[in-house]
């Protein structure tokens, strides 16, 4: 049995290894290795996508090894069980919501690696950090153990910190600091939440009941979902006195605490208003290929975590808070849209538009049904491609004009027809034009939400008007209108730049025309999740 998932997650390390062997002045070779190394996980991801779909088993691929076992004070519990330990498993799986997100990550990363040709300084260390970041991102979307997930989640912070801080624009260091501190805070909350969950619901008896059994604390996701889903039999499996070592399990107060911690921790990443200010700086200060990853993939980690490690574990809490989630989503949508409408800097406009779009993910989650969740995942994937395309184009724009301020640009369609056309297409995708990926995502989110909270879905429709308002304002101001004389000499788009843009455009159109490419692989996972939600009611 070949460990495909491990190969996928760690395949970028091949590139890291090769890069470290090449002297840092061989820039061309370094770039080739960097790009080639990002193609490796892309190929593997495609292979796995094809494999899983041909086999027709959404969660067939899974890898699990015992990894860390920390023995606990056995004397305290001696007569009842043989051993007592805290274990972390190395557990990867492509089921649940993972597959489309993994494929999206691999595509966006490869395109961002290609777009990194604009990076001129310290290419070697850039690509090393870049590939390390990819490992973290892929790992996040496949980990099935709370602590493994947490490790990958943290892993992404370090390369990201350096990528922003070294290769960013003028205020890069401040932005990198802000990023690290804010996300570190989120991670701390996440860790607390995970510890609460493990201590309260992560206890299980392995082996036969009685004196020869093993009592294990673990952050195994499947086990936790199972145990919380069927509380009574969970209690029954524990040896009588063991419950005294586990005084919190199932308590309402701890459940609510864990929920709120998770909401804030993932909410910072998502981001949820008012925890969004850190990402504005990253959008403006980080180099554009890194923003492609940040806006395209890293924000999705928050949304993904919220569903896979929040909703699945604590469905009751989500159900009783669904109205609040919907309101937060609506606030995100409207707040982001209004702010995007008045921005003068295109990158800030896009940052606020991300906040607005992530609101639809929250609406989809608040729907608590398969339609809404499908919509949420579609929105994650779709927004990943759209914002990656946007920032790729912004990068090309910055290369040429040196500015991405809306009020300084204008009439670029004349000199840069290809780039302008794609910018317009990205804009249309972003405002939810049918035939492009954003439409079905937003439709399903609202459709699902209407089944649960009709008023919220109708209010969400407002977001669809507002997105047209701010997207067209920004995109048309840049591409349409009379050409400024300063830009009369701009060079047209080159094939090298065009390639990743074409790939991303193709993905956007493909999902728009055939949304089933995203919905089918996650159908089983979502069905299970709905089952859990309904059982919890």
């Amino acid at each position: 049995m070949i460990p495909w998932l491990t190969l996928l997650a760690f395949s970028p390390l091949v590139g890291v290894l090769l890069l470290s062997l090449v002297p840092s002045d061989r820039v061309k070779l370094l770039r080739c290795i960097g790009i080639a190394a990002s193609l490796l996980p892309l190929l593997l991801a495609f292979f796995i996508y094809a494999y899983v779909n041909v086999e027709g088993q959404g969660s067939s691929l899974t890898e699990r090894y015992n990894w860390i076992a920390i023995p606990l004070n056995i004397e305290a519990i001696q007569p009842y069980v043989q051993s007592w330990a805290f274990e972390i498993d190395y557990h990867l799986s492509i089921g649940g919501l993972s597959l489309p997100l993994v494929v999206m990550t691999a595509i966006v990363t490869a395109m961002a690696a290609w777009a990194s040709l604009t990076i001129k300084q310290r290419v070697k260390s850039y690509y090393i950090w870049f590939l390390l970041l990819e490992v973290g991102m892929l790992g996040v979307f496949m980990a099935r153990d709370l602590f493994l997930f947490f490790l990958f989640f943290e892993w992404t912070l370090v390369p990201m910190f350096f990528l922003i801080g070294i290769w960013g624009f003028a205020k890069r260091e401040k932005a990198a600091n802000r990023f690290l501190v804010y996300n570190g805070l989120g991670s701390a909350l996440l860790l607390v939440a995970f510890l609460i969950l493990t201590v309260t619901a992560g206890l299980a008896v392995h082996g036969d009941a009685g004196a020869s059994s093993h009592l294990v604390y673990s952050g195994d996701l499947e086990q936790m979902i199972r145990q919380l889903g069927d509380a009574q039999s969970f209690v029954n499996t524990l040896p009588g006195p063991a419950s005294s070592f586990n005084p919190f399990y199932l308590s309402e107060a701890w459940r609510a605490t864990a929920f709120i911690l998770l909401l804030i921790a993932f909410g910072i990443k998502l981001p949820i208003f008012p925890f969004h200010t850190w990402m504005l700086r990253v959008h403006v200060e980080a180099p554009t290929p890194v923003v492609m990853l940040h806006s395209g993939v890293l924000l999705k980690m928050g949304a993904y975590g919220l569903i896979q490690f929040g909703l699945a574990i604590l469905p009751q809490s989500f159900a009783s808070w669904s109205t609040v989630l919907a309101i937060i989503g609506l606030v995100n949508i409207v707040y982001g849209a209004l702010l995007a409408y008045v921005q003068k800097e295109l990158r800030l406009l896009l940052a606020y538009s991300s906040i607005s779009h992530m609101g639809f993910v929250l609406l989809g989650i608040a729907a608590m049904n398969d339609i809404g969740l499908q919509g949420a995942v579609l929105q994650m994937v779709s927004h990943g491609f759209i914002s990656a395309l946007f920032f790729l184009l912004v990068g090309c724009l910055l290369e040429r004009t040196g500015t991405s301020r809306i009020d300084e640009l204008g009439g670029l369609a004349n000199r840069l027809p290809f780039l302008s056309a794609l910018l317009l297409l990205a804009g249309l995708a972003s405002l939810g034009l049918p035939g492009l990926s954003g439409f079905m995502a937003e439709l399903l989110s609202l459709l699902g939400l209407y089944g649960q909270l009709p008023w919220a879905a109708i209010a969400g429709g407002l977001g669809i008007i507002l997105s047209a308002v701010y997207v067209l304002r920004g995109v048309l101001a840049i591409t349409y209108g009379p050409l400024d004389m300063r830009f009369a000499q701009l060079k047209g788009t080159q094939a090298v730049e065009a390639l990743p843009a074409v790939v991303l455009t193709f993905a956007i159109i493909l999902i728009g025309v055939l949304p089933a490419v995203v919905t089918i692989p996650i159908e089983q996972g979502i069905e299970r999740m709905i089952h859990i939600i309904q059982a919890g009611r």
């Binding site: 501190v181 804010y182 208003f273 008012p274 969004h276 200010t277 850190w278 707040y335 209004l338 702010l339 409408y341 008045v342 921005q343 049904n369 398969d370 339609i371 499908q374 009439g411 369609a413 004349n414 249309l428 034009l433 049918p434 035939g435 439409f439 079905m440 439709l443 399903l444 609202l446 459709l447 209407y450 089944g451 009709p454 879905a457 109708i458 429709g461 407002l462 669809i464 008007i465 047209a468 308002v469 067209l472 304002r473 048309l476 591409t479 349409y480 209108g481 009379p482 050409l483 949304p515 089933a516 919905t519 089918i520 159908e523 979502i526 069905e527 709905i530």
Partner: protein, 633 residues
């Protein structure tokens, strides 16, 4: 009889789609033959749709549906496909005929434009989307194409992207129609959750909303039906430029004139009327919704007609006329006269496309759209002038041209159900005749006055490639009306599927004829070759004239009550975000730092201060112990 051509309905939209793909993806290869590809593809679609229409006229009246599963999970089963009804078949012919003629016309009109390929590609995409809309078997697919025609309209309005006016108009068109679109979207959300099996196809809708009984049987209350119908109508208001979302349509005239003829006169703007007709079952069950449709339609008809009287831009006059005529169609639908509404859509498509193309022909020659600058210079363009006259007469409702018959059908329906709406219809008809004669006489007959600026170079007739479509459309504008006269109701039976009686109403015929002729007469009196000067009468009613000339200040009201508040709110929130939200974050961060600094100061490396601190600490501990009262030893 077997349906031979009906099974190839899918090929009708595919032909223009292929044209679009070829023109977009192989732009460099096909550069020279863009117009050829455009005309060819639409001609194929046109021939096929005519064959389909003929087949349906001769025999089968059953609905022909094909569906393919598109997206399916859980309760969601979205399908794509096509459906052929008599109404659809008629719409297919309208769209493809106008599209073919406009493609042909554009070959001449856009001959000098270097972005011709893009232009024909966009037209291909539009024609595909419009045909896809027409043959949609369910509301979701209709919505998809509804949005796509909207975006094509947007792209083509902004075709000359370097003009700031075109940019503004394109943006406005998209946003204004989107406000309506959201209404339609919400209607879809409601229907999805209340229809049995979450069905969104028109046949199921027809079954559920067949009567009040079936509706309540499926648990849909009358109030809900009113909401659904009204929300669908909101979509139609946006697309068909009805009050109060009409402001985008006149601005849309910034686009190339062939586009105005195709999209903003004949086809897309009529999609709203088509939508209401297609979902008419829902409307029929709600008196309130019907009243809303009729009132909005009637009001728009008269409202836009008054504006058209005082405009100076040739295309804008026609645009307001379109808004007014679409209001007429809505009025008909609101009165329950679906056939009359569709019939007016049918005739209007031809004569309004004709008028726009005629206007384009003049504009192409004289390079201005201001009628007072044209000032009779259109006279030397014989074919354009004559065909334009035919179009104008048809629009004014002069018998026996097509516009007369369709207007008559609407007015007879109004006469029977609502005399107030009848009166509104008559006044609107009078105004229509008046502004059309004003337009015609100023552009084509006025004596040349010396003071007009611009060159007095001779004006030539447009090339044949542009005049042929004019002639064809002129013929259609004359004959299209005989499909459905007061004396022959086969058309109504064919469209609705219910046997209908003739609607001969002599009073209405006489009234509408008199009204049309008197409107033209008044126009001739004021604007004819020997007419009085315009300012003479406009001075008499100056405030009113000014109000109409400024389009009742609707744009200004939107600016005041929607655009500015949004901008101000955004700005306020921007400050809030920057200084309050981010301020709190910064403050928290700096607090932490300050706190840290406080304790850094203690670690200053001086032995004395450490000693002092230890002493303080020791005393504090002692004090604590004493206070707790446990004693020292």
């Amino acid at each position: 009889m077997e349906s031979v051509y009906a099974q190839y309905v899918w090929a009708v939209p595919i032909a223009p789609l292929l044209a679009f793909l070829v023109l977009t993806l192989m732009r460099c290869v096909v550069k020279g033959s863009a117009a050829f590809i455009g005309v060819g593809s639409s001609l194929i679609a046109c021939v096929l749709s005519i064959l389909i229409l003929l087949e349906r006229l001769s025999a089968s009246t059953n609905v022909y549906t094909v569906n393919v599963e598109w997206l399916s999970f859980g309760a969601v089963h979205f399908e794509l496909g096509y459906e052929l009804t008599n109404l659809n078949a008629l719409m297919l012919v309208i769209v493809t005929v106008v599209s073919t003629l406009v493609n042909l016309y554009a070959k001449g009109y856009m001959a000098d434009d270097e972005r011709q390929t893009v232009f024909f590609a966009y037209i291909g995409l539009f024609t595909f989307s419009m045909l896809g809309l027409v043959i949609s078997p369910n509301l979701l697919q209709l919505y998809i194409f509804w949005e796509l025609v909207g975006v094509c309209s947007f792209l083509l309005i902004g075709f000359w992207y370097e003009r700031p006016a075109a940019r503004a108009a394109a943006k406005k068109a998209f946003i204004m129609t989107r406000i309506g679109d959201v209404g339609l979207l919400i209607a879809i959300l409601i229907l999805f959750w209340h229809m049995p099996n979450h069905a969104l196809d028109f046949q199921s809708i027809g079954q559920v909303f067949a009567s009040v009984d079936t509706m309540s049987q499926y648990g849909i209350s009358a109030g809900l039906a009113t909401w659904i119908a009204s929300l669908i109508f909101l979509g139609a208001i946006g697309k068909s430029g009805q009050f109060p979302l009409h402001t985008w349509l006149p601005d849309a005239m910034e686009g190339p004139t062939p586009i105005s003829a195709l999209i903003h006169a004949a086809t897309m703007v009529a999609a709203g009327v088509y939508l209401v007709a297609r979902t008419f079952d829902i409307f029929q069950l709600s008196q309130t919704a019907m009243l809303i449709v009729a009132s909005v339609g009637g009001f728009t008809a008269i409202f836009a007609a008054t504006i058209a009287i005082a405009q100076r831009d040739m295309k804008r006059i026609l645009a307001y006329s379109t808004v007014s005529q679409l209001g007429y169609m809505m009025l008909a639908l609101g009165l329950g006269a679906v056939t009359a509404g569709i019939f007016h859509l049918f005739t209007h498509a031809f004569f309004k496309a004709l008028l726009f193309l005629g206007a384009g022909s003049v504009i192409h020659a004289v390079h201005t759209q201001n009628i007072f600058q044209i000032n009779g210079r259109g006279r030397s363009m014989k074919i354009t002038a004559w065909t334009f006259a035919i179009g104008a007469l048809a629009l004014s409702g002069v018998p026996p041209l097509s516009g007369f018959w369709s207007k008559d059908a609407i007015l007879s329906a109004a006469w029977e159900s609502n005399k107030l709406l009848f009166a509104i219809g008559v006044v609107a008809a009078f105004l229509t005749a008046f502004y059309m004669s004003r337009l015609f006489f100023i552009v084509f007959t006025r004596a040349k006055r010396v003071h007009t600026e611009g060159t007095d170079s001779p004006i030539h007739e447009s090339p044949a490639v542009m005049t042929i479509p004019l002639v064809v459309l002129a013929v259609l504008a004359v004959v299209a009306g005989f499909v459905y006269t007061p004396f022959y109701s086969g058309f109504e039976t064919w469209i609705t599927g219910v046997a209908a009686s003739d609607h001969t109403n002599v009073i209405v015929i006489i009234v509408s004829t008199i009204v049309a002729l008197s409107g033209i007469g008044l126009g001739y009196f004021i604007y004819g070759p020997n007419g009085v000067r315009e300012d003479r009468w406009s001075n008499v009613i100056k405030p009113l004239y000014h109000l109409v000339e400024r389009k009742y200040y609707v744009d200004e009201l939107y600016k005041l009550f929607a655009v500015y508040p949004l901008k101000v709110l955004g700005k306020v929130l921007d400050v809030f975000d920057r200084y309050i939200i981010d301020g709190i974050v910064r403050y928290t961060a700096s607090c932490t730092v300050q706190f840290g600094k406080l304790f850094t100061r203690i670690q200053n490396g001086q032995l004395q201060s450490y000693g002092l601190l230890s002493l303080y600490g020791f005393s504090a501990l002692l004090l604590l112990l004493l206070l707790l009262g446990k004693g020292l030893w």
